[in-house]
Symmetry: C4
């Protein structure tokens, strides 16, 4: 139960930061720094309790890598999506139910961008937070959070830069992306999580 609460809190603050900094008047060009840092601080705060996923694609990747119990997976994902939903509702209240123009999305580039960005995130998570060879480091949160920052700077304009199905629920709820595109994030991000788990096992063969 405490693990699900930590996942709820972390995803809540991640999506709160997304909404408050992206919807005008937000943090402008600095929004990716705020968003990546929101993930970083929550990974450092909650990692020792729940692993600090805050992302169904990460939960899938960590489960495939063998560091998350199967019984936890649906509850993790549920807590993450619930946290994102509550945060999105909160943002709409804070902003006074703003008029937001959804990002125009081209399907194929957006699918590829979400696949590439979420692969980077899951690949970094598995290597810095679950590999035996990097155990005990103090940089896992910085690496994970700044992956989202970097990919948001690089690919945010193509796909909206979710790299996370729970964040995708949040940004469609806030009309930053049209809700008819929501499936795209689930397929691309979860696919990226599975691919990252495969690549991790290939490059860390002795690490079971």
């Amino acid at each position: 139960m405490k693990k699900y609460l930590v996942e709820f809190i972390g995803t809540f603050f991640l999506v709160l930061t997304v909404g408050m900094t992206v919807i005008a008047p937000g943090a402008g060009a600095l929004a990716p720094l705020a968003i990546g840092s929101a993930l970083m601080i929550m990974v450092y705060a909650g990692g020792h309790v729940s692993g600090g996923h805050y992302n169904p694609a990460v939960t899938l990747a960590v489960w495939l890598r063998g560091r998350c119990a199967a019984a936890d997976v649906p509850f993790y994902m549920g807590a993450q999506i619930l946290g994102a939903w509550v945060a999105a509702a909160g943002v709409l209240c804070f902003k006074g139910h703003p008029v937001v123009t959804p990002l125009e999305i081209k399907l194929v580039p957006a699918l590829i961008a979400e696949l590439v960005g979420a692969f980077a995130l899951c690949y970094v998570v598995l290597n810095v937070a679950t590999a035996k060879a990097t155990a005990g480091n103090s940089n896992y949160g910085l690496a994970i959070g700044f992956t989202v920052m970097t990919m948001a700077f690089a690919l945010g304009g193509v796909s909206g830069g979710a790299f996370n199905p729970a964040v995708a629920v949040g940004i469609t709820r806030m009309h930053l992306v049209d809700s008819m595109h929501l499936w795209l994030y689930f397929i691309a991000n979860l696919g990226a999580g599975a691919l990252a788990a495969l690549v991790f096992k290939f490059v860390n063969p002795e690490d079971k």
Copy 2:
């Protein structure tokens, strides 16, 4: 005595940075990066002496969690508020007693924003700087400082982004916020500190 001096120094530099970067010509959109970094460096510099609170809400949360002696609490809070007051006076001198228009604040959103932001800060502090499971890490200052940066980017426009009653004293002294709103920060931030201590105990049940 040395602990109170460290708390004074840290809060002084935090509020000095707030005033110098927020009052024009300051650091513009980058002010939250400077402010969060000011907290980060002072946490790294003073953590081994005083714990590096620099915030009455953090002192309350750490006391409730059982890592601050009751006898220290009033002196910590006094040193923090004194440091904030001196820094604010210094900023007004450096800036040549500037004409500052206070932020327009709506009471209920501001109360919620200060509650949410200060909860994030105290929740991060307790988990990265007082939990047994994260002992010995090198990231506590980065996590704590960048929580203030992130929340300032996300919520600064709603409430002024103090998340800290001592900072609230400083920003009302510098007229960035009307002094009739000062009570709001004390209630919301101290309430958030107490709530964070409760949540910490729930998610770290074996950590006394």
Copy 3:
């Protein structure tokens, strides 16, 4: 084989970030933060497998310092250049084959800037990631990534700010720099790698 895959992945994400953030509409003045962070996250993710070079000049320097097998050197460099090439092609697709005006380059200043910037990078890499006196630190990725960020802020306007022959292949492929200048990066960067190895041995005489 797994080492070469890690080098491919890391250089791919580095050059993807360069192209997506530098070509308009990119990350504007914040591009160096994104680029340096891309290197940082990939060093943290892949360092325990391949050393996390992502740069032929770094591979040369690490080999001269005695921490990379000679047999690996050509495959590392090949994987890096291939990753850069694929990333550059991907950027051109994402951006819709944009019209890019190459940076105007003056030969001598550009040569010196690439020598100076790549020296800083290789000097930092050797000291934070291969010196016995700094073994076990958690800051190597931050130091290495932010060296590229710092040098890109300082010298990017002079030479394009590659500091890396693989990145040079990528930016000439994306027309950010005229391909007739490609030799310049190979000479300056590889020369800087050799010089950094010499300096490292001089300042760490007991470290074989």
Copy 4:
């Protein structure tokens, strides 16, 4: 000798970054991030050889604290000032001997700003890099570098933001500050170093 070379290299890159990012077209509002990061990377690269001072005020403070041999002090300061001088000359070449308007400086505020900023820097250095209670941490470079970034954001407009007599030599050489003000930096910064050593001894009484 190797220690002096490391001090020369580090101060060279610090002042190179100052000049290249502050003189137009530089890094604009992001210059303090680049400058603080330049110090950070050089502290991480050279700390295990020379201590990574790159600043006569820091050398004074570390000597007073008992962690720098008296015989090294003049050579450290000489290497730092030489590195700054060479970097400033290099910047003037790269920039094509630019016309620079020196910052208008008011004496008393500038003296106080340099005293306050250099005190913060020396106080952080002594606590994160020389205190027994923080030995073995990986955050010393981040804390030290970002202190300069924070103080440059906060106080750069008042005094030019040197906090370092060697940097002061560099910025007067580049005409960013009028050379008739050079004495100001030596007095304020060295005084701040001495004050920081006193405060360090008071707050770390058991740490000889």
